[in-house]
Amino acid sequence: MSATAAAHAASHSVARMPSHTGPANKRIVTGYGFWIFLLSDFVIFASLFAAFAVLVHNTNGGPGPHELFDLKSVAVETGALLLSTYACGLASIAAHRRSAIGFYLAMLVTAIFGAVFLGLEINEFYGFIDKGAGPQRSGFLSAFFTLVGCHGLHVSLGMLWLFTMIAQVFAKGFRDDIQRRILCFSLFWHALDIIWVGIFTAVYLYGVYL
């Protein structure tokens, strides 16, 4: 092959680089699909955030954010969820290395911190309802309970999924399809923490300081 022909072939292959080589592998497809699903979940939360932002002043003569929110408890919740997310990251590394013990342990830690978070949130909700500040009290409280409760519901369903995942690894081992589900679970769990960042800022901090 002459030099020019080789150069031509090389430039040709460079030009072809971004061209498409056919269907992606299953891990990419599954991860991407779940990623799109998560974006749709973000939009659900966006609607609830919008409702909260519009209704936050409609206290109907009842208590407002200043009187209700206890930032210390929120800070502890935030910490618990953050550690839970971290443990979930460790679990996906353990899964990647096919270490069953590591995976179970990390998932268990994830679950414990998730449970702490849920416990604190339920405790907060009970306290509000006790004070007569339940979701039926005002538009503000309806929006608050729905937005924060929807996040809590996601965490609860995530816990159900978490234990199902542990059972799957126990029964089937680190098969490819199980690995893909672990990837989706960790995406889900991390995404919930991102939404929580929005909640503690826009609901609690804005509520108390603005």
């Binding site: 974006l39 519009v54 953050l82 460790l90 990647h96 990837l183 991390h190 991102i194 929005g198 800022t201």
Partner: protein, 124 residues
């Protein structure tokens, strides 16, 4: 499917090359945890310290929240601006735009209506 494709694309949540990194990615998560904890702590402490001019507080808190979301996206979800992540980032950008339009639009529209229609809730 083919190897060439493998290099060009990564699933969201997957690190581009876990094996070659020190600590197999534990480092990444730990750095993320540290940054997130720092940003969270700042957000909670900042208003109480009176360090920031009060009217700019919402902007400061908003910036901190967006920064922390960025930290989570990069260190936990591993969605980066690398060439293997174009589709993932585009999807995220589309989602962020929609979230912005829905929240921003709703707040703007409803605020304008309340102002024009003298909604009693605004005068409480």
């Amino acid at each position: 499917m083919s190897d060439a494709r493998q290099i060009l694309e990564t699933a969201p949540g997957d690190e581009a090359d876990v094996e070659h990194e020190f600590g197999g990615g534990v480092m990444g998560y730990t750095v993320g945890l540290g940054l997130a904890a720092l940003l969270t702590a700042t957000a909670f402490v900042l208003p109480a310290l009176n360090l920031v001019w009060p009217p700019s507080l919402p902007i400061a808190l908003g910036v901190l929240a967006i920064a922390q979301m960025g930290v989570h996206v990069v260190f936990f979800l591993h969605v980066t601006t690398g060439p293997d992540n174009v589709n993932n980032v585009l999807a995220l950008a589309f989602g962020a735009l929609i979230v912005f339009l829905i929240i921003g639009g709703s707040v703007w529209i409803m605020h304008a209506m309340n102002a024009n229609m003298m909604n009693p809730a605004m005068h409480m």
